[in-house]
């Protein structure tokens, strides 16, 4: 369980070629609680809201100034998640990933794409 929230870290391959697809990895140490606890497990488990729900609500991916992807999440995502997705290298521009949690707090990480070869 994530005790502290740390800024997101972005990892991109160093060998990116133009018009090729590459992987983007983003690690974000953010807690995720469903807030649910089993109230009655005698037959079918019955859940109630024991603690406030905390989770990452949105992840936005910008390539240059363009919003290229977006992820809408729930509390069903694990603690400290690592997201991996792909992008097509069409231009040398920064990649920015923005996270917004269910309290409206915002974090971001960015890295510039440079072509090799």
């Amino acid at each position: 369980m994530a005790e502290k929230i740390r800024p997101p870290r972005l990892r991109i391959s160093r060998r990116i070629k133009k018009n090729k697809v590459f992987k983007v990895k983003v690690k974000f140490d953010h807690p995720s609680f469903t807030g649910l606890a089993i109230a009655d497990d005698t037959s079918d488990p019955v859940f109630n809201r024991a603690i406030p729900v905390t989770f990452i609500r949105n992840m936005l991916v910008y390539y240059g100034d363009e919003l290229v992807s977006r992820l809408r999440l729930s509390s069903g995502i694990a603690d400290e998640p690592l997201f991996t997705f792909k992008l097509k290298a069409i231009k040398e521009a920064p990649i920015k990933v923005v996270f917004i949690d269910n309290f409206g707090k915002r974090w971001e990480a960015s890295k510039k794409i440079k072509f090799k070869g």
């Binding site: 069903g76 991996t84 997705f85 992008l87 097509k88």
Partner: protein
């Protein structure tokens, strides 16, 4: 100007009429949903392959691939990889991938929206699963051919919800 439809009055809507309309709707709705053209429209209907052993080309490029271990020790950190072998052209691409588990109290885990700039419809993350046997569903939505669903059975030793 008088409109005939507006003259419809509640007191004229007898019990017999209600039963007749309900019966007509009961026949019409299943009959309409059986028409393949309507199923492939962008409704809430998920498409599934007819034969998993012999996929057609349309089914092969739209069916989501799920990589998830059959047994998960810790339900709080279940790694999942979802991908679709679909072209990501400007006019034909995968719009979204959604991950769900109907056995969990939090059914929808997340929905990833793609654009052609992604190059490939691919997502890897970690999800929470409740203990016991369950089925994880992944729904991929194509901008032309609607929603396609695939599922994978999973047994979770220690629930993470």
């Amino acid at each position: 100007m008088k409109n005939i439809d507006l003259e419809f009055k509640a007191e004229n809507f007898s019990r017999r009429k209600f039963i007749n309309y309900a019966m007509a709707a009961g026949i019409a709705i299943p009959a309409l949903s059986a028409i393949p053209g309507l199923n492939s429209a962008h409704g809430g209907v998920f498409q599934r392959p007819k034969d998993l052993e012999n996929l057609t080309e349309l089914e092969r490029i739209h069916l989501p691939k799920i990589s998830l271990p059959p047994v998960v020790e810790d339900g709080a950190q279940a790694s999942i990889v979802c991908s679709v072998d679909h072209p990501m052209d400007e006019d034909h691409y995968i719009k979204s991938i959604q991950i769900m588990n109907f056995q969990d109290p939090v059914v929808i885990k997340g929905k990833f929206f793609f654009t052609p700039a992604n190059g490939e419809a691919y997502l890897s993350t970690q999800i929470r699963l409740s203990g016991g046997d369950g089925e994880v569903w992944v729904v991929a939505e194509c901008n032309k051919h609607g929603k396609w669903a695939a599922n994978k059975k999973v047994t979770v030793a220690a629930g993470g919800c």
